[in-house]
Amino acid sequence: MGTYIVRRLLQMIPVLIGATFLIFAMVFALPGDPLDGKCGERACPPAYAAAFEEKYNLNDPLPVQYFKYVGNLAHGDFGETYNGIKVSDQLKERYPVTVKLGTMAVVIEAILGILAGVLTGIRKGGFLDNLVLIATLVVISIPIFVIGGLAQYFLAVKWGLFPVTVTSGEATFYQLLLPAIVLGSLSVAYVARLTRTNLAENLRSDYVRTAISKGLTKRRAYGLHALRNSLIPVVTFIGFDFGALLGGAIVTESIFNIPGVGNYIFRSIKSRDGASVVGAVTVLVLVYLVVNLIVDLLYGLLDPRISHD
């Protein structure tokens, strides 16, 4: 187990380096000069421009800039934005909201999705099954920004069930509830379908028949034996999805005016602020890799045949 984790952590390093380099190279290619408009309606004095370029390593070629950046990153230094604000401070401000939103979405997705999947998987072909299948198809095909707009209009503006927008950086649970439902809606549909297919397949298997024939109640045979085995692909999906939700929250964040990390990256790209973009995306990639490692470790709990020794 220990060696497995160490090996996986070591494998993360090339992926992390590759991903940061990719983002760094793309940000490097962004058109526009960071000095534009820095000194009002005139060009910056040469001395200031030289000092500025020196400070942000703007005169170095791409690989040198990148190595300097990674060197600082290894010390936990995310660098500064062109306005002289520490990127790490900004990330500390932005990430909690997005992580809270993403976690709520994942919890909603897991509970609702697995519940719907179990209810339909047990009675495949019934009325409820068809209803849920059609409902998931509808949810999957409506893009999230349409769902978000409609939910905001009907549930928040018209009927007043939820707050319309998030008004502060420290968003409450209630304020984030509707955005989290919107963000998780697509995944709920996928989780429900995945659980349903896997459960229906496992219910036909020999070990469930054995469990029933040796006198176990249906609840125990299905819940303990069939469901546990059916959950492996579902857990994989949910784990992968957490990373995707954090990165994909940008649309939901812009609809509900949430000051999260997606919004931050979007604004930084538009203002050509490289350090913020690379820093924020690096953290996203890191979260994604760590969550995937945790998911792989969870396999052992769900299916004792899988061991990491």
């Binding site: 793309m26 058109p31 095909s141 397949e201 990256i265």
Partner: protein
């Protein structure tokens, strides 16, 4: 291409259908037989056909020019002279919905072809050659896979040179490129795992023993038996890419005025949601129906190709 290469596969005989003797039975013809009986397939096929005709010949559906505004009638409701009403700029929403199909279908189709070609090739090489080549290609795939699709696409699109904004096809190609660059690893992983499953089979070993070249083994023995999962996922992804294009256009990064796209129209409609919801409803409906059609087709193809679900 895929149809033919599947037909060349060694025929798998289904014992349940032993009645029809003499007719050639292959995986593809079996799948086609199952698919023909599926109403889901026909519904989605008709919807896709309509959208493709709409994309190719929008003039068949409307004579109104979608780029001619009638400002005096801006924000008029459906039925006031036009079928779907007019938007903030006074454009005919019906005409814009029809003309918007082209961008979505083109982006979806090209992105799917691109990811299948790139991801499929990488997956086959990684799975068939194995060893350090596999490790290298898999790690490269991991790098692209770890970057969130939407954010990566936004950075990619912004960093592309202005050359790509010259004409309509280049703008479409720009969005396609961004989605292909970030979307290929999932198909490569899928292809790699199915090639690894097929490779140890006896008929592959036999072909190698008979002296067949690696190219021939891959072409006529490995590929036909490993393609099915990728076809299914690529079809479903086509719908997802259409949604992704609309999302990027919604954020103001993908297609831009004067290009016509459902995403752009939804984005400009969302500000007037409270007073003129019809401006959001119609492009949103067209977009959802297009995505739905491809997802249903993917479901039908999976049901036909996966013997376990039958």
């Amino acid at each position: 291409m895929t149809e033919q290469s599947i037909v060349e596969a060694p025929p798998t005989v289904d014992p349940h259908d032993a009645g029809e003797v003499g007719e050639e039975r292959s995986l593809a013809s079996d799948a086609w037989r199952a698919m023909r009986r599926n109403p889901l397939f026909w519904v989605s096929a008709v919807m896709i056909a309509v959208f493709v005709v709409m994309a190719a010949f929008p003039g068949l559906f409307t004579r109104t020019d979608p780029t001619v505004p009638v400002l005096a009638e801006a924000r008029s409701r459906p039925g006031d002279g036009t079928w779907f009403g007019r938007d903030i700029q006074g454009y005919d929403i019906y005409a814009r919905c029809i003309y918007g199909a082209r961008a979505s279908i083109l982006v979806g189709l090209f992105t799917s072809i691109g990811t299948v070609l790139l991801g499929g090739t990488v997956g086959v090489i990684a799975g068939y050659v194995g060893g350090w080549v596999d490790s290298l290609l898999s790690r490269i795939g991991d790098v692209f896979f770890a970057i969130p699709l939407l954010l990566g696409a936004i950075i990619f699109l912004v960093s592309l040179p202005d050359f790509f904004n010259n004409n309509y096809l280049l703008i479409v190609l720009k969005v396609v490129l961004a989605l292909v660059v970030l979307g290929w690893p999932s198909l490569a992983r899928l292809m790699r795992s199915s090639v690894i499953q097929v490779k140890p089979n006896d008929y592959v070993q036999a072909a190698r023993a008979l002296g067949a070249s690696p190219g021939r083994i891959i072409r006529s023995h490995v590929l036909p038996n490993a393609l099915a999962p990728m076809i299914v996922v690529a079809t479903i992804n086509l719908g997802a890419y259409i949604a992704a294009e609309a999302t990027l256009s919604f954020l103001g990064i993908g297609l831009q005025y004067p290009a016509i796209s459902w995403g752009i129209d939804i984005s400009s409609a969302i500000v007037g949601l409270r007073t003129t919801p019809h401006m959001l409803f119609f492009p949103g409906m067209f977009l959802s129906l297009a995505v739905l059609a491809f997802i249903m087709l993917g479901d039908a193809v999976r049901d036909a190709l996966d013997p376990k679900s039958r």
